[in-house]
């Protein structure tokens, strides 16, 4: 059964964002969410600015390294 155009638009919109943000590297999407959550706890919860400044880029590098290494082993 062919769905109506608003449904197709919504499905297409959702699919675009899914491909854009998750795509074939769901680990990077999850890592980014996790990193921001951890840094939010450090900065907003524990009020540690210096630790948050260091943790954010280091966690990003760790996520990139793990994802690239996984692709290499695949």
């Amino acid at each position: 059964m062919k769905s109506s155009w608003p449904i197709r638009m919504i499905v297409g919109f959702a699919r675009f964002w899914w491909d854009f943000l998750v795509g074939d590297t769901p680990e990077l999407f999850l890592a980014a969410v996790f990193i921001l959550a951890v840094v939010a706890v450090i900065r907003v919860g524990a009020h540690q600015n210096a630790l948050a400044v260091a943790a954010l880029p280091l966690l990003v590098v760790a996520a990139l390294g793990v994802s690239a290494s996984r692709a290499r082993r695949r």
Binding site: F20, L21, T25, A32, V53, L56, R72
Partner: protein, 237 residues
């Protein structure tokens, strides 16, 4: 705005490849018509969504935008690293051209110019949509939507102008080097803006952005060097 310009240029080279393939195969009129309709649609999208985004509280906007840039930048950087180390085939514009021509050969006989229009429109619209997201996210976070739009427009004019001259020699564009640069810039902006959204006070304020770019550039170089030295196992996606 360098990030907007480079990202726009990379996406536009891909879109241009499709348009040139369609134009050569089925004629320039439907190809250019599809391109113009797609560009106008994308410009309307920026005009409608852009001003609305400036009404959102800055911290919330920077957190969301920073998160999106971080994810998108990491995807680009990962892909560029894997391509630089030979684990993934480099993006071949000649292959895109050939695939588009083959698609036209099988479908054009049935629907003629309509297929050419749709292929050109889809190519420009889908590649352009990524440009629009980068323009909107970087432009609204820095409160410089006009400048970001102008950077994308400059990339459009330059890539379009070069495309007219070189037409099928698009594979000569050093796409992976550009993609790696854009990846570094997007991850740096993503880190900076999401940090500001989380109320991080960066040492040196905006100077921290330059430090982040240098840091991620060095890290990328280390990853590429390390992965080139270690034996590759298989071709990944």
């Amino acid at each position: 705005m360098v990030a907007v310009f480079l990202a726009s240029a990379v996406e536009m080279v891909e879109a241009l490849t499709i348009v040139v393939a369609v134009g050569h195969t089925e004629g320039w009129r439907p190809a250019l018509r599809g391109t113009v309709v797609a560009v106008v649609t994308l410009a309307a999208l920026v005009a409608i969504v852009g001003p609305a985004l400036t009404k959102v509280p800055l911290d919330a906007l920077r957190l969301v935008v920073g998160g999106v840039l971080l994810i998108f930048g990491l995807q680009w950087l990962r892909k560029a690293i894997l391509r630089a180390t030979g684990l993934v085939a480099k993006h071949d514009e000649d292959a895109i051209y050939q695939r588009t021509v083959e698609k036209m050969d099988t479908e054009a006989t049935r629907q003629n110019h309509r297929v050419a229009f749709v292929l050109a429109f889809k190519g420009v619209f889908l590649e352009g949509l990524e440009v629009v997201i980068i323009v909107l996210t970087l432009g609204t976070s820095a409160r410089r939507l006009g400048l970001a739009s102008l950077s994308a427009l400059a990339a459009l004019l330059i890539v379009g102008g070069v495309g007219v001259v070189v037409a099928r020699q698009l594979s000569k564009v050093p796409e992976n080097a550009m993609k790696m640069t854009v990846g570094v810039l997007l991850v740096s902006y993503g880190t900076f803006f999401s940090g500001e959204g989380l109320k991080i006070r960066w040492p040196g304020d905006d100077v921290a952005l330059v430090v982040l770019v240098a840091f991620y550039a060095v890290v990328t170089w280390v990853f590429v060097t390390w992965m080139r030295r270690s034996p590759a196992v298989a071709v990944a996606s």
